[in-house]
């Protein structure tokens, strides 16, 4: 070989060696918290009806008859006429500061407004009216990880505004431990445990007494007989709604921490928390009694129940500690002693809805999965469909119609054939009304 070529070879090796630096950039979307103090007195004057507006940051949804209620996180509730599912019509927007959850009985909409529970007459959906307000019943809460607390002595809400900031940092290209270190894991768990409050999910909650609607599995409000059940981070709060327009503060049951969702089923209450599922006997609706706890690692876990089987999704990430992402099937035929049937690995399970034998499961940014659950031990082998092009936060199955909500908007499907959901209509985020 000629010396020139050998020199070329050596030069190439040198240049390559000199330029060989791995380039790794981690992109993080992080919450930035800003502390703000709000006057409770002023907040109570801010509930009002506004002209319809577009979805911006949709939260939970609730359906009653032809009307659909969609929460705008911390802002209020959209009332939508859903008679024509292909062309739902925005009727009005009720500005309710600090709103995250809702339930409807007859013509009364119950909604939280930071520390208060408000009852709003929606018999004329274009002109809702505040009927009743129960003050200072909720002591703290959380929106998108920003915590608010009620200071009763000063009449103030100490709140945190949340902004989402994207940042890029160079990293070592070898991050493969989850989380990065054990002390981070511990910190994360504590932080999330303290804040994993308002990110609950939706399930088709049956019940009796009065005319009420249907919430998703992420719901923290549930109606059963003469009571409205609400869960806060650490307690179950009962309101007597025998006279729907005059709800009365009735009782509080303190338990656990990190309570997330509530699902009434027959005469039981299934409560999802960051540490497990609580089962309450609700034979006497005025006095729920805890029967058992189904423990799991710390994670967010909405629950739905049908035919004595509880479907519990466990999700890590965001305000949810832990490292599990799975669907647990739990036999609750003996509610005093729930038994695990089987766990299935999932990607990022959020809300779910069961319409036996079909299970609809939201996978967040990974879309919506539809399973046939006839064989409890082979659910993962019976994936009927996976819709990857939607962001799925929560879902409500109404038999032949499926309602789905996520960051990018609200979807309605014809679910006559669960294998082949047919999109009836979509309300995208930001669409002008």
């Amino acid at each position: 070989m000629k010396p020139k070529l050998l020199h070329l070879f050596i030069l190439f090796a040198a240049v390559t060696s000199w330029s060989c630096n791995d380039q790794c950039k981690e992109t993080r979307v992080t919450r930035r918290f800003t502390n703000v103090t709000r006057s409770v007195m002023e907040l109570r004057t801010m509930l009002k009806t506004e002209s319809p507006r577009s979805l911006e940051r949709p939260g939970k949804m609730y359906i009653k008859g032809d009307y659909l209620f969609v929460n705008e996180i911390k802002e209020g509730i959209h009332i939508i006429n859903n008679k024509d599912k292909s062309h739902p019509e925005f009727i009005t927007f009720i500005r309710i500061p600090g709103n995250g959850d809702m339930a409807v009985r007859d013509n009364i909409l119950y909604a939280d407004s930071f520390s208060d529970l408000v009852a709003i007459d929606i018999s004329d959906p274009q002109n809702p009216k505040e009927m009743e307000r129960i003050k200072d019943v909720f002591k703290n809460g959380n929106f998108d990880g920003g915590i608010w607390t009620l200071n009763e002595t000063t009449g103030a809400i100490n709140d945190q505004n949340v902004d989402f900031v994207t940042e890029t940092v160079t990293v070592n290209c070898e991050d493969g431990v989850n989380p990065s270190s054990w002390w981070e894991r511990g910190w994360l768990a504590e932080r999330a445990f303290a804040t994993a409050m308002s990110s609950a999910s939706s399930a088709s909650a049956p019940g009796s007494g009065g005319s009420k609607g249907q919430a998703g599995s992420m719901a923290r409000f549930a109606l059963h007989q003469n009571f409205l059940y609400t869960v806060t981070q650490s307690s179950l709060h009962l309101f007597n709604v025998a006279t729907p327009s005059k709800p009365k503060d009735f009782a509080t049951v303190n338990f656990g921490w990190g309570i997330e969702t509530i699902f009434p089923y027959e005469n039981k209450l299934f409560i999802g928390s960051a540490t497990g599922m609580f089962i309450f006997d609700n034979s006497n609706p005025a006095e729920p009694k805890q029967l058992s706890t189904f423990q799991h690692g710390r994670a967010c876990d909405p629950v739905v129940v049908q035919d004595n089987i509880a479907y519990v999704t466990i999700r890590s990430g965001t305000a949810c500690p832990g490292t599990q992402n799975q669907l647990d099937l739990v036999d609750v035929s003996n509610p005093s002693s729930p038994q695990l049937i089987k766990s299935y690995q999932m990607e990022s399970p959020h809300g779910l809805s069961i319409d036996s034998p079909t299970l609809y499961l939201c996978e967040g940014a990974h879309g919506l999965k539809v399973f046939d659950v006839k064989d409890k031990f082979k659910i993962d082998k019976n994936l009927l469909a996976h819709f990857k092009d939607v962001d799925a936060y929560d879902v409500i199955s109404l038999g032949k119609t499926l309602l789905l909500i996520g960051k990018d908007g609200f979807y309605q499907y014809d679910s006559s054939n669960p294998k082949d959901l047919r999109l009836l209509g979509k309300i995208p985020v930001g669409k002008a009304i």
Binding site: F12, D22, T170, N172, T318, N325
Partner: protein
């Protein structure tokens, strides 16, 4: 990934075309190599953005080129390999060529070029992580020691660029976290060809 597949298909078509032009009888050739991927990384010290850390990186690589001789000096084919990065096991599949720069002698200089896509098929991610592969580029020079047209031992020096994307479990107050990774490595390989 589509681009990579197109490149691989393009190489095959080009190979077929050249082979047809030269009317050289189709002859199978194999070049299998094993070696190391040498590199460095400079990154921000976590929690102290002003401070930087510099570290060396070394990973194992294995690849096999299977193709046809288009002329006495040029061969084209498909290269399949596997690279054991510390937290990513990637399997690049690429279209490649080998071209002898020198004709004669016991030691001949040759050039290599592989372009394709590194797949994360064999990566077993831990909970909360999802690794996806990316484009791969690997041009280089090598020394071939052996009789022309016969089996030879090779030593190659090449630049390897491998992209990857990792979706990660969010930490702290994060709602999303992902990493775009580019491995820029000096690949030193020993191999055999026939």
């Amino acid at each position: 990934m589509k681009a990579a597949i197109l490149i691989i298909i393009g190489c095959w078509l080009m190979a077929g075309s050249l082979q047809a032009q030269n009317h050289v009888p189709l002859k199978y050739t194999n070049h299998t190599e094993f070696g190391g991927l040498f590199g460095r990384v400079k990154y921000q010290f976590p929690g102290s953005p002003g401070d930087e850390i510099l570290e060396n990186r070394l990973n194992v690589t294995l690849q096999t080129f299977n193709g046809v001789m288009l002329s006495n000096r040029l061969s084209a084919g498909v290269t399949a390999g596997i690279d054991w990065y510390k937290t990513a096991l990637l399997a690049p599949i690429s279209g490649g060529i080998r071209y002898d720069l020198t004709k004669n002698g016991g030691v001949r200089l040759f050039t290599t070029a592989d372009v394709g896509y590194g797949f994360a098929w064999f990566q077993d991610d831990i909970e909360g992580y999802r690794t996806k592969g990316g484009l791969m580029l690997n041009p280089g020079l090598g020394l071939r020691m052996g009789k022309a047209g016969g089996p030879a031992v090779t030593f190659t020096v090449s630049y390897k660029r491998q992209e990857a994307h990792i979706d990660k479990f969010p930490l702290w107050d994060q709602v999303e976290r992902s990493e775009d990774r580019v491995y820029n490595r000096l690949a030193l390989r020993l191999g055999i060809s026939f």
